[in-house]
Symmetry: C2
Subunit: 353 residues, 2 copies
């Protein structure tokens, strides 16, 4: 049990939830759904029955270190790893791997984003335990496991995993045939009908030796950069070393850098009420609705308004009338009013501000 580690990737700056999430307060620190807990807090608590608190590592930007410690006061400051800049997930995970390597070379690791929603935490923990037990078997030392989500709709906002059709050995874990990019709607419908496609949750499980082998094979340049400081991890020199070498790391995701190439890829098709709450639309889907199908948080009066997300900062009040399927969000002296169906353009609008 003490060999089990959890890496929480919490470096996102996410403009998709503007104006709620901004650079100084990104989504993982928000309680967008009104559950009483931020996403990062929920993520931590969700893994806590599987991984002891002292075996968590949170990788984030230096600017958010204090915020992470406020949300997760159980952590020692040294458990928060600071990237000097965003370099996508492959360097992020490599950094955490090397830190773990310095204390527990035989660790089994689960890697997770900090800002997902899970509604069935019991089933979630069962699935994570199943995955960790799988990669802890000597015969699966090089297995790279991705949690797959059984799709419930032809979602075009997620990447997909095509699992092997053949029966697997465990009854629950399948080999991966291919990773698929976000599909168009027709393709997503075909995936759903096919039955062998899963959503890529971005949650990975592997043994430390296994993922290290994969990095050495598929990202040797990155490994060479980290190896130069191999003995600096867990020492006072670690941060300086990282600050110096991180900019030289390739800006590449774990999916493109490792998973695409691996020959020992597995997935567990899971169903634990998962969403990445990556858009206001998905927030709308998961939020509590009033009689007119509105999702309201904050002090707001709605009149003749339907299927609309209204999110008003504390200390403000709002009257919203005559809208159908809109988003009205006021936070941090910024207001957004837009059609929910057009939210993919938020980034462009903000640029014009």
């Amino acid at each position: 049990m003490n060999n089990r580690y959890c890496i929480i990737m919490a470096g996102g700056i996410g403009s998709r939830f503007w104006p709620l999430s901004k650079n100084n307060y990104p989504k993982q620190f928000l309680d967008i759904l009104g559950t009483g807990k931020s996403f990062i807090r929920s993520t931590f608590e969700r893994f806590l029955p599987v991984v002891p608190a002292e075996n968590f590592l949170v990788v984030t930007n230096a600017a958010y270190k204090q915020l992470v410690l406020e949300h997760l006061p159980e952590l020692h400051p040294e458990q928060v790893l600071c990237e000097p800049m965003r370099r996508n997930t492959a360097p992020c995970i490599a950094y955490a791997n090397y830190r773990i390597l310095s204390v527990c070379p035989e660790a089994s690791i689960v890697v997770t984003p900090a800002d997902h929603l899970v509604t069935n935490e019991g089933e979630f923990q069962r699935v994570i335990r199943t995955g960790m037990e799988f990669v802890e078997q000597p015969s699966h030392r090089n297995a790279l496991l991705t949690i797959g989500i059984k799709p419930s709709r032809p979602e075009t906002g997620y990447g997909y995993i095509r699992r092997h059709v053949a029966e697997d050995t465990t009854g629950e874990i399948f080999e991966v045939e291919a990773f698929k990019e976000k599909p168009d709607l027709a393709t997503a419908k075909a995936y759903l009908a096919d039955g062998n496609y899963l959503w890529n949750s971005g949650i990975f499980i592997w043994s430390l030796p296994g993922i290290q082998n994969a990095y050495r094979q598929y990202l040797p340049d990155m490994v060479n950069l980290f190896e130069k400081g191999r003995y600096l991890f867990n020492t006072p020199e670690e941060q300086d070393f990282i600050n110096g070498m991180f900019p030289q790391c390739e800006n590449i995701s774990i999916d493109y850098g490792v998973m695409e190439h691996s020959q020992e890829r597995y997935t567990i098709p899971a169903d634990f009420g998962w969403s990445d709450i990556g858009t206001w639309g998905s927030l709308y889907e998961h939020a509590r609705h009033d009689d007119c199908q509105n999702a309201v948080s904050g002090h707001a009066v709605l009149e003749g308004t339907h299927r609309t997300v209204v999110n008003i900062e504390e200390g403000y009040e709002a009257v919203v009338q005559g809208l159908d399927h809109y988003l009205v969000a006021l936070r941090d002296r910024s207001l957004l009013v837009c059609r929910l169906d057009d939210e993919q353009n938020i980034k462009h609008w903000i640029e014009r501000l």
Copy 2:
């Protein structure tokens, strides 16, 4: 010239421009149109070529006295008369009349709301002078003159004046046949087609003896209340007297209390670019428009938005997308998003907050 006085009625608390105007900062103190001047400041400057600064009286609530003096620093504090409560226009005007009576019993007076828009100030001043000269003639000592506005559309938001069809003596001033309540649309269209109906601007001109005679005749109880303190006006006891007697005054408008009954009512049909800017819709009509017919003030980006009023407080920013003929106003920690056509219900929505 020194017998000419101007009474500015500035006691309104106006919720129609919520959230811009609230109890602590009503419409007359706002620069809603972005002209660089508040309504009360514009009103004062508009009358200044006709009435000397020392002959202005502003009647307002005690709570706004400082605000009035900030907007009109030319005034002596004693020129700001404080009502202890709102009691509609008849008591308001009576109070100012008695103050003037104590210093200039033969005054001619123009009475005006504090929050109207006039675009042709030269023509406005000519009309006001014409009216004052009219009531200054001994033969028109009891004339009560209302400025009428030549209607340009079948407006249902204003009261109307039906002028006498017969030719008048001056070539410009007509007798009033009747005052009409705000009409429905069909009636408003008939008024417009008729050609003898004018909008009631709420601007009145009379001699002090003439209006005093009318009060004595039509509001004798109110006159009795004021007469008890006749010699207290312009003394240190004035405010205490007013505070004590004002609550006993009937809550009645000058229109219902006096004008309805008067036998010597006149009007000047005028055309000087007038609006009472009583609604967001009229604000929209008079504001500068962008290429999509939006009226925008503040730091806002509009996308796919048309015929919409966007009014964002300084220090805030907004993205507004996908609206047609809406109002988006953010001020003083309150947000309003509604259809412009439904703004008459703002009051009810605020009550629900």
